[in-house]
Amino acid sequence: MTGDALLSVRDLSVRFETPDGTVNAVNGIGLDVAPGECVGIVGESGSGKSQTFLALMGLIASNGTVTGSARFQGTELVGLPPRRLNQIRGAKMAMIFQDPMTSLTPHMRVCQQLSEVLVRHRGLSHDEARAKALAALDQVRIPDAKNRLDQYPHEFSGGMRQRVMIAIALLCEPALLIADEPTTALDVTVQAQILDLLGDLRRRMGMAIILITHDLGIVAGLCDRVNVMYAGAFCETAPVGPLFRAPQHPYTRGLLSSVPRPDQRGGALTAIAGQPPNLQMLPPGCPFAPRCAYRFDRCDTERPLLREAGAPAHLKSCHLGGFTESGAVLP
């Protein structure tokens, strides 16, 4: 798979030096993204899901260091000088963020913000860029795009602003779009529209999407493959069907059972006990062990590695034998 992968990440780690000690935000991530594939990254706050991809984009804070390897279309991204990275970023690989309110410059017209990218990366003239900007707004289904082109960001609603952000990200027709919690700040009805738009754009443009989110429902609808992240590492990786049908890691199972389902009301939710671990002092064994209902001696001493769990593309990092579809524990 490595040969034709669009993005191939191996053993990627991100560390931050803070006055209170070293924070191990990302610990040895491996990931392949094929062209046109939609990969979901699910995790809670502090799991390192955003930092992983900010590191790929060369956007981490100045006190952070990145080690390992991340090859994008054959180019090694880790350690790439900012000038080269700039050529890739925006043109072949784009990122959209959670907060569409702060990602746009408030004092520039939307048209300028769109055409700036084209003039810089593609060397288009201003008229060409404007025509392309208009097409881009049409593409993300902004109604009456012609008249809205000269408006300022504050004249757009939250959902419309996220559409503008997507339009900017898509201007140079990137091969990979990284969407970091793209709908978390939006209302559900708006979220449904943005997700629908992302799915549609992916089919039409054949671009790969990495969708970072905390919401399992979003992943279920859009992604082909899902990576569940905990304490800076993937604890389970699987195609979307098997992951939801027969989750193999206790954390994934816990997440799924803590979400209220429409088909069942009342009664206690099966919560995961305790708090996420402190990334400054991870335990020597499994990072999830202190919260795990199935923990046994080996979990405290030996960190589990990602290994095959039943099906070929289904990996988990857990010492347990596994779970059947009905939830019974295998030794």
């Binding site: 009805t189 449904a192 209220p260 009342g266 919560a271």
Partner: protein
């Protein structure tokens, strides 16, 4: 639930004056809550669901008199709260508490956890001495799942889920009758969210609490509520038992909300029927004529622009009401 309801809200309105550009233009009213009526029984959870700007938080705060109401009444245990002065209101606050969305922002960063939880005791039971207060605080901390060892710590030393437990302990310390939960789990991680929801339902069972549970997340609201009230631009769109709402949503907006909420199951999520609605919320300063939802409604007709649909049973026999000319 034949006894008198604990809380009756009758045609409640909250309008904020919004200054207009121009030196002599009069301020225009922003109708955050515009004629909302419902009842809440003892021990019941009423979910209030709606998108940002629908007035759900304003409604909760107006009932607690944390913001002034423009018109209408809120009657709690037979007493009209909206007619009381600020000074008369203060003793009533013993029975009416609130839990906030952002757990850390709702805790004074300069106070220890013990002092924060004890604050309502200081106001309402000043006769308690320090040792008695401390005993009560420790007991309540135990009850909400916090170790009493943490009593001298400060809010910034806690994670979001624990901070929300502190907020719940503060609201519960006087054993109130009604708690307004304003998006209590929206800021929390999925795995912590379930812990807090379970804690709230335990407390409700043990203390016979009534909850007004405000959230934008229909899945959460459906899980905890007996009845659900759907709010849009300050008006009630639909009010029904949770089961009924789940099985047969009658207002197009409720149906849109239900179909938009993602389900963590690929086969259900990909095959479900979607009712997409436009995503431009009209300005609450300038709401549409007639039915406020008509600009985004797939069923909007001529009638909807002229006539405000009244909240009525419209053929339902189970007490549910809907404000739509063409309910399903």
């Amino acid at each position: 639930m034949s006894e008198a309801p604990l809380l009756i809200v009758d045609d409640l309105k909250v309008h904020f004056p919004v200054p207009q550009p121009g030196l002599f233009s009069a301020p225009r009213p922003l109708k955050a809550v515009d004629g909302v009526s419902f009842t809440l029984a003892s021990g019941e959870t009423l979910g209030v669901v709606g998108e940002s700007g629908c007035g759900k938080s304003t409604l909760g705060r107006a009932i607690l008199r944390l913001i002034p109401t423009t018109a209408g009444r809120a009657i709690f245990a037979g007493e009209e709260l909206t007619a009381l002065s600020e000074a008369q209101m203060r003793p009533r606050r013993r029975d009416l508490q609130i839990i906030f969305q952002d757990p850390l922002a709702s805790l004074d960063p300069r106070m220890t956890v013990g002092d924060i939880i004890a604050e309502p005791l200081q106001s309402f039971l000043p006769e308690l001495d320090a040792a008695q207060r401390r005993a009560k605080v420790s007991a309540m901390m135990n009850r909400v799942g916090l170790s009493p060892q943490m009593i001298s710590r400060y809010p910034h030393e806690f994670s979001g889920g624990q901070a929300q437990r502190i907020g719940i302990a503060r609201a519960m310390i006087l054993e109130p009758k009604l708690i307004v939960c304003d998006e209590p789990v929206s800021a929390l991680d999925v795995s912590i969210r379930a812990q807090i929801l379970n804690l709230l339902s335990d407390l409700q069972r043990d203390f016979g609490l009534s909850l007004l549970f405000i959230s934008h997340d229909l899945a959460v609201v459906r899980h905890v509520s007996h009845r659900v009230l759907v709010l849009y631009l300050g008006k009630i769109m639909e009010l029904a038992e949770t089961e009924t709402l789940n099985r047969r949503p009658r207002h197009p907006y409720t149906r849109a909300l239900l179909s938009a909420a993602p389900i963590p199951d690929p086969s259900l999520e990909r095959d479900k029927e979607r009712l997409m609605i436009g995503d431009d919320l009209p300005s609450p300063l300038d709401p549409p004529s007639g039915c406020v939802f008509r600009t985004r409604c797939p069923k909007a007709a001529e009638k909807c622009a002229h006539e405000v649909p009244a909240l009525a049973a419209r053929g339902a026999e189970d007490g549910s009401v809907v404000a739509c000319h063409f309910p399903d």
